[in-house]
């Protein structure tokens, strides 16, 4: 183990914070929000892999493999929904979609 666990965790936290910031700040574009979510997920995966390497247990790696598969499915669904939303309102700004308001 050449890289200490703490360093990886710090990197992952920074990535997570950046992803979160992206999601919160860039709400004018759904696609950018999706990218932010992806970054957050990657930060989580990094944590898993780091933990797996630290303790020598394969579980974390398996979990991240599963996460990769799940994420790709989620992204394909989400992008399809973006296309659909764009077709409905000619916009990808999340604030335009406020029909959830009672």
């Amino acid at each position: 183990m050449s890289v200490p666990l703490y360093h990886v965790l710090i990197l992952a936290s920074i990535m997570f914070a950046m992803g979160l910031g992206c999601v919160i700040a860039w709400r004018a574009n759904v696609i950018m929000m999706l990218i932010g979510i992806e970054i957050m997920l990657n930060a989580v995966m990094l944590t898993f892999v780091a933990g797996s390497a630290q303790w020598g247990i394969a579980d974390g790696q398996i979990f991240s493999l599963m996460l990769i598969a799940l994420t790709s499915a989620e992204v394909s669904l989400a992008l399809a929904m973006v296309v659909y939303l764009h077709r409905r309102k000619r916009s990808v700004d999340t604030d335009d979609f406020d029909s959830m308001k009672g």
Binding site: I24, T94, K101, G102
Partner: protein
């Protein structure tokens, strides 16, 4: 023996599976040949089993139901009763399959038809050969299921589909009674093996045996179309004619008689049950014959005559003469299949016209059908020396020899029925085949279909040799069935027997004469004129089957419809639906009230989400930095 019995069941099942799965892929000729070969293969197995037969034998083919005490393996039982029926079914069904291939030559949906026919043969053989009651019941329901599907074969016409449903529901009433009987038998005896049950009747008090016997009788009433559950059989004629011949005349409808004959050692000990069976049979025989006299539809005449003839078989069982009943069952299968197939030829040649008053003159233009149909009618009427004469007479003789006021009354009723039978058989012959010539529609299929009639006609006419009366030598079936319980019937002296036969033969001739006077020669044209006018009240009464359908409509169907109307509109729509609608409305209203608190903006949600996450993290960090305790 095991291999014969297994193959006997396996061939039709396999044939049905091939038709079902590959019927659309294979060439038509191959599918048809496969269906016929399956049944004939089964028949050959039955013949082999007959030649290898020495004594009653039980063969276990495989495991089936096994849970705690309940043991119901797939075990088959071969005794004279099941063997003779298996051979008959293989032969008659084989011929009808060949006929059906040509009858349905223009049918596009032939794989379904042939698969169902094969499946029916499998179910019927299962019913016949079953050694335990659950397996018998499997076959019992199997034939009912195939019958339902085949009656409604042309399901796009609502009438046909309705007829199928009617048959299914009516027989279901009887089946329920049979299930109750089976469950009760298991509770009483702890076994469902027929051979074991038949030997244990003495263990139970009489009233229990009587109750079980009556339940089985109700089961037989449903399947064998006995009064009061007979209303489905005339409507079942909506199916294709080969189906009517095979299922609703020769084989399936006799299943009830078979059940009672099979369980005879168990239920035969109760005089009440026997009397009930005999009365049911006698009333049904008379009912069927009286209705057949007035019918106009060729197939309905034959349907009512089937009801009547099965009534005779029940009479035979009720008189304790299982041999006579089985004898009539076998001979009836031959000549009734013959009559139905002949009717199919006639209908085919008459461009699917079924009204007998619009037929006529086929005697010269369709000679082969005429002669074969005549042979069938002779058997049905019980004219001396035909197969039907001997078999019917053995039942009448058994009734007479049983003695007592009840059985003598039934004997007289059966004689009246025999007179009516001869009358309506020849009414049919005169109306369909005599009179001015009509140009039939001949085709290649019809020629082959006519050929199938010949072996059946021969068997029907000479079926009597199966069981000749004692004064003509030893009867084959009597000897064969002698060791069965109820098989060895009481025998009268030869003079008594001859006298009884003379009475029956004389009545049949009288019926023929009456039919000749009323429908033969010049009188025929007169009857045709009358037929176009409104029928007299009596004729309408008989034409509509004693208005039983209307009676059941008023007694059962109307109240049921009214009740379901109430349940539907008042209970289902009024109470249940309304409650749910109001609940949903209330929830919706409260939801939109709560919804006023939300912004509906995604960004807002994300920020609150992140803030919540930060709060949780902060709390955890606080715990780590200043641990409590």
């Amino acid at each position: 023996m095991q291999i014969y019995l297994t193959l006997m069941l396996f061939f039709p099942l396999f044939g049905a599976l091939i038709s079902m799965l590959l019927g659309r892929k294979l060439p038509r000729r191959l599918v048809e040949a496969n269906a016929c070969a399956a049944v004939w293969g089964s028949f050959v197995c039955a013949l082999c089993a007959a030649f290898a037969y020495h004594a009653p034998e039980t063969v276990v083919v495989g495991r089936w139901l096994a849970a705690f005490d309940l043991q119901a393996p797939i075990s088959l039982y071969l005794d004279p009763l099941s063997l003779s029926l298996a051979v008959m079914i293989g032969f008659v069904c084989g011929l009808i399959h060949i006929y059906a291939v040509f009858y349905m030559a223009g049918e596009a949906d032939y794989p379904r038809f042939l698969a169902l026919l094969n499946l029916f043969v499998f179910a019927m053989l299962t019913l016949i050969l079953a050694e335990n009651l659950p397996l018998l019941y499997l076959g019992w329901e199997g034939v009912g299921f195939c019958s339902y599907l085949l009656i409604g074969f042309w399901y796009t016409d609502k009438n046909n589909a309705d007829a199928g449903r009617k048959a299914f529901i009516t027989t279901r009433i009887g089946d329920t009674a049979l299930v109750v009987a089976i469950a009760w038998l298991f509770q009483l005896f702890g076994t469902l093996s027929i051979t074991e049950l038949n030997g244990m009747a003495f263990l139970m008090p009489g009233w229990i045996i009587t109750a079980i016997g009556l339940l089985m009788l109700v089961g037989a009433m449903g399947k064998s179309a006995q009064v009061p559950l007979m209303v489905w059989l005339p409507d079942a004629m909506a199916g294709p004619t080969p189906v009517s011949a095979m299922i609703h005349a020769a084989t399936m409808v006799t299943a009830g008689v078979y059940l009672l004959a099979r369980m005879f050692p168990l239920i035969g000990g109760s005089g009440t049950v026997l009397a009930a069976i005999a009365v049911t049979g006698g009333v049904t025989a008379f009912y069927g014959a009286s209705c057949a006299v007035a019918q106009r539809d060729l197939k309905r005449v034959l349907a009512f005559s089937t009801i009547s003839q099965i009534g005779y078989m029940m009479l035979g069982v009720g008189a304790g003469a299982v041999t006579a009943a089985t004898f009539h069952l076998l001979v009836h299968a031959f000549f009734k299949a013959l009559l139905f197939l002949g009717a199919g030829c006639v209908i085919n040649a008459m461009h699917h016209e079924q009204d007998i008053f619009k037929m006529g003159g086929l005697r010269r233009t369709l000679p082969l059908t005429y002669w074969c149909f005549l042979a069938g009618a002779l058997c049905l009427a019980g004219l001396p020396l035909t197969g039907g004469f001997f078999s019917k007479d053995s039942i009448l003789a058994a009734l007479w020899l049983k003695g007592g006021p009840l059985y003598c009354g039934l004997y007289l009723l059966a004689l009246v029925t025999a007179l009516l039978t001869a009358f309506y058989s020849f009414r049919l012959v005169y109306l369909v085949f005599y009179g001015p010539d009509q140009k039939p529609h001949r085709n290649r299929e019809l020629r082959v279909m006519e050929l199938v009639l010949i072996p059946l006609a021969v068997l029907g006419l000479f079926g009597g040799v199966l069981n000749l009366p004692a004064y003509l030598g030893e009867g084959f079936l009597s000897g064969f069935f002698a060791q069965l319980a109820g098989g060895a019937a009481a025998e009268g002296s030869h003079t008594e027997e001859l006298l009884l036969q003379a009475v029956a033969g004389g009545l049949a001739l009288a019926g023929l004469l009456a039919a000749h006077l009323r429908y033969g020669g010049k009188a025929r044209a007169q009857r045709l004129l009358e037929s176009s006018s409104h029928p007299s009240p009596m004729a309408a009464f008989l034409l509509n089957g004693w208005y039983f359908d209307r009676f059941y409509r008023a007694l059962l169907i109307r109240p049921y419809q009214a009740l379901s109307g109430i349940l539907w509109q008042a209970v289902d729509e009024g109470v249940i639906d309304d409650t749910l609608d109001r609940l949903a409305g209330g929830l919706g209203a409260s939801g939109s009230w709560l919804g006023r608190w939300s912004t509906g903006r995604v960004s807002m949600y994300i920020i609150s989400f992140a803030a919540g996450g930060a709060l949780v993290l902060g709390y955890l960090a606080w715990l780590v930095i200043w641990p409590t305790g």
